[in-house]
């Protein structure tokens, strides 16, 4: 295949300003066939703007934006994508089957209604009006609309918000199935375990730029911190002042610490409290890595992150 050299989607030094706010500030992003890229970042990091640029909803002030080597405002390029946006109110009186049939009609070679419904797990909802569905069911219908056109690239913006754990895991299975068929996916999510479960590559954004990019393991490895938990009577303030401890807090009877020197800290804890019990050491998850990375990038963004 000669067209494998053309990336599925590409942003090159893209800039988008809204008035005085620079939402996307020289962003470089590349997505290849069959790859799932998770876009992470605190609120206001520019994830939504990056997606809007790739969908052709907004035009870049500078830089290049390409879908399959074309301008995303070209309908030809968009016939190869599927879209699930964060907030879209679909016509409440239309039935699920009608919504899928309508959306499929925009594409040259769509899946059948039955196949789309089966993939998204909404087969039993086809005759129901959209307004009568629960929030999680509506999200699944939106997922069916995203995949019904047999897209080569899928945009999923916070796809599992409002879903219970079972529905979320079913959606993950469906996403993996599509990737196995050669579909590429751009995913934004607030659930880091979702990125951990699905992503080939994670791209952390802050203030309109990519601050870190790599596999989930790469990202974790960049953060040397480990979590230490134990049941102890030691004083929180005293432990917090130890040089090995980066951060400490009490969770019920347990003390929770993060540290770069887990072995030294464990030794010191055991020396200081002979009664200490249930000592646990864990390496950092994506959540810690993410917190650490965005903190490095922007020390003033702590409040935003908490809000996120």
């Amino acid at each position: 295949m000669t067209n494998t050299s053309v990336p599925v989607a590409r942003l090159a030094a893209a800039v988008k300003r809204y008035g005085t706010l620079t939402a996307v500030d020289g962003l470089d992003l590349m997505l290849h066939r069959g790859e799932l890229l998770a876009l992470l970042g605190p609120n206001g990091a520019g994830k939504s703007t990056a997606i809007s640029l790739l969908l052709g909803l907004v035009r870049a002030d500078a830089g290049k934006v390409e879908l399959f080597g074309q301008d995303p405002q070209q309908i030809m390029a968009r016939r190869r994508i599927g879209v699930m946006l964060q907030s879209a109110t679909l016509p409440p009186t239309l039935r699920v089957g009608e919504l899928i049939r309508l959306t499929a009609s925009y594409y040259p070679a769509p899946r059948t209604v039955q196949e789309s419904a089966a993939l998204a797990g909404v087969t039993d909802l086809l005759q129901r009006p959209y307004a009568k569905l629960s929030g999680g069911q509506q999200r699944r219908v939106q997922f069916a609309l995203a995949l019904c056109g047999r897209p080569e690239l899928l945009f999923l913006d916070e796809p599992t918000v409002g879903m219970d754990i079972e529905a979320r895991q079913k959606l993950w299975v469906a996403i993996r199935h599509l990737i196995a068929e050669g579909c590429s996916v751009v995913l934004t999510t607030h659930y880091l375990e979702e990125a951990e479960a699905l992503a080939d590559r994670v791209c952390v954004m802050a203030r309109g730029k990519v601050i870190s990019q790599g596999t989930v393991d790469d990202l974790r490895a960049r953060v040397a911190l480990k979590r230490v938990r134990c049941i102890t009577t030691l004083d929180l303030a005293a432990v917090s002042s130890w040089p090995e401890v980066v951060e400490a807090r009490r969770e019920g009877e347990r003390l929770w610490m993060s540290t770069a020197h887990a072995e030294a800290l464990a030794r010191r804890l055991l020396d200081a409290d002979a009664q200490l019990a249930e000592l646990e050491v864990q390496r950092a998850g994506l959540a810690e890595a993410f917190t650490e990375l965005t903190r490095e990038a922007d020390p003033s963004a702590d409040e935003q992150r908490e809000a996120a």
């Binding site: 030809m76 016939r79 049939r101 925009y106 594409y107 040259p108 080569e152």
Partner: protein
């Protein structure tokens, strides 16, 4: 592996889309728009009930008291009143709401053929206008016994059908100007006074001189003049009214297109 190969193969088919499928997308869009509104009582009851119930009360029950020609006059007037609503509400209000709730953004991100969104809404407005027009004609002939020739009925029906278009265009412009929760109020504030000032409820001849002179400003005045001609109550020639409505339609669409291009 088969799945992978078939996905790669279809990428070549994506270069173009057969015309038949593109037309299919337009038809699906129009069908969906019609279905969603025909199932929505909040839209259908006011747009269909208001003109028909008004006609029943003022044109038929009280009609004769207002003179022999009252049922005939009000058939034209309420027909005009009736076809304004699907354009202003079904088109304009829906656009305002959908710009706010994310549906418009989703449609723009999807490969919907350009124009299908607007043409679909226009088709819906024409269907609703046809329903209103037929109901009024049935009431006029069967209940009020207004003597109408077949050609008068047909002319009125066609006038009503095409009469929707300037109000779709006006709705389109309104939809680009207003947004969100306040939108229904704004559209009503334009719809109802405009109907009154065009002589749709009370004949213009009974209104103050200044309002009579202002009437040609309103598109609904010109449509009502055409409707009156259709039922044999016309004064003067038709083409200036047709030209004015055409000019309004083009003007509204151009302004709306300008705004949509700039603000999305």
């Amino acid at each position: 592996m088969n799945a992978v190969i078939s996905t790669l193969d279809t990428s070549h088919a994506h270069v173009g889309m057969p015309t038949r499928r593109v037309i299919g997308a337009y038809l699906q869009e129009a069908r969906s728009e019609c279905l969603r509104y025909l199932r929505s009582p909040g839209f259908l009851i006011p747009t269909v009930m208001l003109p028909t119930v008004f006609y029943l009360m003022f044109g038929i029950v009280l009609g004769r008291a207002n003179g022999a020609d009252a049922p005939r006059y009000l058939l034209a007037a309420y027909g005009t009143f009736g076809v304004m609503a699907p354009g202003l509400f079904g088109f304009g209000l829906a656009l305002a709401l959908e710009r706010d709730n994310g549906l418009m953004m989703l449609k723009r991100a999807l490969p919907m053929p350009p124009g299908a969104y607007l043409l679909g809404k226009m088709a819906m407005a024409i269907v609703v206008a046809a329903v209103v027009s037929v109901l009024l004609l049935l009431m006029a002939t069967l209940l009020a016994h207004v003597p109408l020739t077949a050609s008068q009925m047909l002319t009125l029906f066609i006038t009503d059908l095409f009469g929707v278009l300037p109000f779709c265009a006006m709705g389109l412009l309104l939809g680009t100007l207003i947004k969100g929760q306040g939108a229904p109020g704004v559209v009503n504030l334009i719809y109802l006074p405009m109907a009154f000032l065009s002589g749709l409820w009370v004949p213009l001849a009974m209104m103050p001189k200044i309002l009579q002179q202002l009437a040609p400003i309103w598109p609904s005045y010109h449509l009502s003049q055409l409707a009156l001609s259709a039922v044999g109550l016309g004064q003067g020639i038709a083409w200036p009214h047709v030209a004015t409505l055409l000019a309004y339609t083009v003007g509204f669409v151009m302004l709306a297109a300008h705004r949509l291009r700039r603000h999305g």
